[in-house]
Symmetry: C2
Subunit: 405 residues, 2 copies
């Protein structure tokens, strides 16, 4: 087949993508010492067995099934009742105003929202500003839609009161013609939160240069130590028609198995997203949409408890990483990710990740998935069984010691 398509799909490699490790068929790496036995932990994504879905979701799904055709065949942008409910809840959550008919779309997961939002805003050759590090699919999506990526660095080790986005680089990207800025807040993979000043500066720059912004707030409900979180959409700095915000119940709420996400904001872009949805997968799974009723309507205290449990895991893992000589890690401020930096090793990050998998039964994601320069970092999702996670990281650190330079 085509050379151009071949190139395009080479860039879309998924072998190291979270969850795909079982399909890896690489050579056996340089294994040193004995295997360290222990319960397998897949840190590439959260464990919905350890942190179960919000109570009552299965019952809502069953109700949806019994509702029948109306629930199976919703409008492409999602069922009207669900959108009315969502618009009200998301407006309250973010402190903004949303018209359920114009400003909200229900998507197959937040990945679906991201795909549709980018497909609706990027044309061939468009310059797209993307944070490094950030969610690995951001870069792949920009490439798939033939955008030209301008990376904007985030100096996440240099601060503890802001994400550390290089705002000078961001302005340069806009000056160079970037039409779209895409970022996750809290940041994936580092788990840091953008400060109010950073958010306002992003909005001011985007407004000044007339750029479009996609803000991925997937993890914004799981905030540690009651840190301040700033929704860009509530700042009233940018034209709201130049902004799409993405959020979904797959993570903190553990509803991944239902494939649900939402995007809200620009009516014109949401129209386009719906048109694209019509040819991509028609709609978010119909019966699943009924589950959205539980979202932002969890039992009292449920989210708080979930946050506390995650914070306890984070704290114990942080201690271990901080105690390991030569390792650097910034504490997660929100979400379930940690992005530790390794001491100098005599194997590559790709080899290290495979060695850890073979020797300790722990699966972690290489930093290079989040930007080519992150050759000595890896990401873990610590939404896991607490004890199993701690033990797996103990094993990982022991194996790491065998490869120190």
């Amino acid at each position: 087949m085509h050379t151009s398509l071949e190139k395009k799909f080479q860039k879309l490699g998924v072998d190291n993508a979270p969850g795909q490790e079982t399909r890896q068929k690489a050579d056996i790496p340089d294994l040193r010492g004995e295997k360290l036995p222990g319960r397998a932990v897949d840190f590439s994504h959260g464990d919905v067995d350890a942190f179960e879905p919000t109570p009552g979701t299965l019952e809502l799904f069953i109700d949806g099934f019994h509702t029948g055709g109306r629930q199976a065949y919703t409008e492409y942008r999602g069922g009207k009742a669900a959108r009315i409910d969502l618009a009200e809840k998301l407006a309250r959550y973010t402190g903004t105003q949303l018209d359920p008919e114009r400003n909200v779309i229900i998507t197959p997961g937040t990945q679906g929202a991201l795909f549709l939002a980018m497909g609706a805003t990027i044309a061939r050759g468009d310059k797209v500003a993307i944070v490094a590090p950030d969610y690995f699919a951001n870069r792949k999506l920009a490439e798939f839609f033939d955008g030209d990526i301008i990376p904007v660095e985030m100096h996440y080790f240099d601060f503890n009161d802001r994400a550390g986005l290089d705002l000078t680089e961001l302005e340069q990207a806009f000056k160079a013609g970037a039409r779209l800025f895409l970022f996750s807040n809290p940041n994936n993979p580092t788990g840091v939160i953008y400060s109010p000043e950073e958010i306002r500066r992003i909005a001011t720059l985007a407004a000044h240069y007339g750029a479009f912004v996609i803000a991925d707030e997937l993890y914004s409900r799981q905030i540690f130590e009651n840190r301040l979180y700033t929704h860009l959409c509530a700042q009233n700095i940018m034209n709201p028609e130049n902004l799409i915000t993405i959020i979904g119940p797959s993570k903190t709420e553990s509803l991944s198995g239902y494939r649900l996400g939402t995007a809200f904001g620009s009516a014109a872009v949401i129209d386009r997203m719906e048109k694209l949805q019509a040819i991509v997968s028609l709609r978010a799974p119909g019966y699943s949409q009924a589950v959205l009723k539980s979202w932002f309507s969890e039992p009292a205290g449920w989210i708080q408890q979930r946050i506390a449990q995650h914070q306890a895991i984070r704290d114990e893992l942080l201690q271990k990483f901080q105690a390991a000589e030569g390792m650097r890690v910034r504490p997660t401020e929100a979400g379930s990710y940690l992005f530790p930096q390794l001491p100098p090793l005599d194997v590559t990050i790709g080899e290290f990740v495979r060695i850890v998998r073979l020797q300790t039964n722990a699966t972690v994601t290489p930093g290079t998935e989040f930007g080519a320069q992150f050759t000595n970092s890896f990401r873990i999702n610590f939404s896991q069984d607490h004890k199993a996670a701690v033990n797996a990281i103990d094993r990982l650190l022991k194996v790491m010691d065998r490869y120190r330079k």
Copy 2:
């Protein structure tokens, strides 16, 4: 925003797409005579209340939910156990051989399969041969991926022992450089089946010109009068690496609400489809994938009964259309669609469809969704409550008489 994106999304209009009619905001058309009251029937898609999902699917979903993380987070191409089961069942159904690790992918609906298959095979400027009439998304997908469409006519009124594809036009399309031929069998919207000779000729031409073929067999299980159905993939004429077949349980089995589809064939293209899935929506809904166990494993006689019920509806509607002066319709051979041609009217097809909706509470899809030239046809999905469907078509025909030229 962009002119190029604006143009692209203008072509992707969904206002007349099945299921989207409630979002139409057009002028009130020329209404003549009284409204004809009656139960609303949405012929734009099947009614899963009239024809319920295969028995046992909800229980399988619930089992999937209780399976937990393994079911929520499958590989992007779908859970391994489901793929092993599917490969065996689809191989038996089509009379071919499939490796579950290489040749099968589970997708969010057959729409998802179609999107991924086309995204994996079309690059900008590629010539794509598409049947007229055929499923409306085929054309939209080719346009979205910047393909150049070469229409190939199907003379469906001229035959009753074959679909009537213009094979000379198809060869011309390949000669002109078409790299991909995409067709649905049974054809959507006409419900006709390609003859063994047509299928073999398509395969021979594709093999000769080295073209890729996507065969959409979505409705191939619901065949009337035991007509012969020919799976292209079982002909051993083409290189199997140049063929993808698409099928799913959304239609005859009424499992639309779970959003499930599959594609099978070319290992290289399925690899690409998985890479694309990874950025489009990650995976088909995890818990829903458990429902695939019921597919091709329905209770004895269940499919036969469903076919008989649909055939009875088809027969009664056919009689009505055939009795209407100046109307033409070819009997459905498989699936649930009829594509009648109207007598000369003094309103456009777009106006007619809106008039019918306002005056009779029946929703039908204008022929122009299936090719710009079908300005005097409309499509109905007759998978509906039998009596309600018959009454709605009675009303439609009465209203039609008011607009005769």
